[in-house]
Symmetry: C2
Subunit: 391 residues, 2 copies
Amino acid sequence: MVTGESVDTGPTQPDVAVVGGGPIGWAIAWRCATRGLRVVVHDPAPGSGASQVAAGMLAPVAEAYFGERELTGLLTESASRWPGFAAELTEATGVDIGYRTEGTLMVGLTADDLAEARRLWAYQQGLGLPVTPLRPSQLREREPALAPRVRGGALAATDHQVDPRRLVPALRLAAERAGAVLVAEPVRRLSEITAGVTVVAAGCGAAALTGLPVRPVKGQVLRLRAPDGAPPGFRHVIRGYADGEHVYLVPREGGEVVVGATVEERSDLEVSAGAVLRLLRAAVDLLPEIAEYDLVETTAGLRPGTPDNAPILGPLPGHPGVLVAAGHHRHGIVLTPVTADLITDLVTGGGGPEPLLAPFRPDRFDDLPGGVGVTATSSTFQPVTEVDTWN
Amino acid sequence: MVTGESVDTGPTQPDVAVVGGGPIGWAIAWRCATRGLRVVVHDPAPGSGASQVAAGMLAPVAEAYFGERELTGLLTESASRWPGFAAELTEATGVDIGYRTEGTLMVGLTADDLAEARRLWAYQQGLGLPVTPLRPSQLREREPALAPRVRGGALAATDHQVDPRRLVPALRLAAERAGAVLVAEPVRRLSEITAGVTVVAAGCGAAALTGLPVRPVKGQVLRLRAPDGAPPGFRHVIRGYADGEHVYLVPREGGEVVVGATVEERSDLEVSAGAVLRLLRAAVDLLPEIAEYDLVETTAGLRPGTPDNAPILGPLPGHPGVLVAAGHHRHGIVLTPVTADLITDLVTGGGGPEPLLAPFRPDRFDDLPGGVGVTATSSTFQPVTEVDTWN
């Protein structure tokens, strides 16, 4: 026993503790560690959340829905950062994250489907987004595998894709190479954490940690594989309406095709016969050759949904030193670069007030029943001003 | 090193070596061991073949197809042995094998489906089989979960079911309790085996061992589960035609529903999107509540098919001391009792010539191109006349 001597109490307090080892958490950890901050990431099972199920569409255009103009702005901004982000990540890690730029074809199977789709495309064009209507013959020139009865479509050339199951390990590798450290244990209360700044990037888990209105939104997704080791017989992401069902098909180099997704206000992880039936029927109606593909995986995941479908980004009211980067709902993958950049700027105090963030602050829910109930002063945030290198 | 002394060369030669640890193999082993024979069963992975995928319908009536009159006779005979066989097996092992006697409802969704089904039912009735036509109101009285648009049906009250995933372990337990011994290694050639009699009960593997025309016939099957731990919302086995698709649904006490099955001239084990789509669509069309069930398993298995869809039972031409019990195709579970009884009689020489066996002898394929090419004398068979108890 050693007495009367200086005892090593372990590593000094980190500058940043990130709660959640999904794409958002690791990207923030990577960015912060690259700026010289000492970063720990808390997650008992990193990368096991919604990102394992996500298709990885980077689709601000196709995902621009009525009444979500501010979200569309953030999606567009983040998508524009993706090429540089992907290049930087591949440079840092050597990992191929499956970033593909063939663009997205939006299609309607029946006249009714096409009419519904056209309303949305008109809205998207009205926002100045690059949507190019295509006649059936033009569609089939681009993708001969489309069903002959597809009535029409449009190209969103700037809507790209990435493979989330490659992305998350790559982000972790980049973060760890920059010095971030994983603590593979659950965080049950924010008070357990000692760090200069705590970033809650815990997806659905953010609700219990912060009281913010993040709720699970179940999504069921299929993974198919083209037969005999061939690549899929189409190269664009296909998003379509087929007899009223909305479905997407995301082709990957290795032969995988992701088919999704249900949107259900449920929190279980069961795969239901009805969901698989609806997804497969719509997929096969749009691309008949899908019937010959192997069905290799059926999965359900939980998206972190919010009351306005937009993420929650910024200081947690009433908790000095705590930032939130959660509630990304259907948009976690596309929003990873902008979220990481904006949160890192907040952590380091660089950049001053950021207008992009304003619509997404946690205090926007204060008026909700059960809102976190804060005052303007309680959501002030003190950035990490002293930056020491850790390694 | 021991020299000049008597060396123990291991156990004495068994009376019976069974190649294949599926339901047929273990049932033969059980019957033979119960008669006091020394039995070994050779299988590197017992119970891992077609029986793992099989639904377990004991359905000689519903499976009585045009042009298969002799097979129908064998199916009927075996089904009539099932109640006693099941009771004996449960008595010997204490295992609940899921034997259920609610009977089978055969239904047609559309007028065309019903017309097709009625042709078959008339044929079955013409054979004297118990098929009772039911009006839609009578159908729904028996099974309120049936879709309102089901046009008509019939009851095959004597077509029962068993759970193959419970049956095979129970048969193995019974055989081992009676003294049979497993050798968990593959048999590549019959000449590797030393035994009084060798019984080839190797399913699709029988082809390579015997040269007989047994070919793999792929079947894809789904396993669903009623939500929230409830039992399925129907009690009969349902077999139906739904927009030209043939599908069956087998409900089990524990909540499982088996939905099958494709019949494909292929030997791969991939699950295809098209097969899952067709099975789910037909199942949901007939029983809409199936859409709410969990999809818990998608599997493909290989049935041991033969040129006339009937099993191969009896002496292998040109191989004295070798019996075949293979090629059971879609009927392995229902045919287990009669196969075990008839083969055991052949092994022990009891019972004399058996007219039931005559249509299923291996030498019926001699005229086929590539047939095993035997003479009448080469398919004589010498039973085990000396019966020693092994244990």
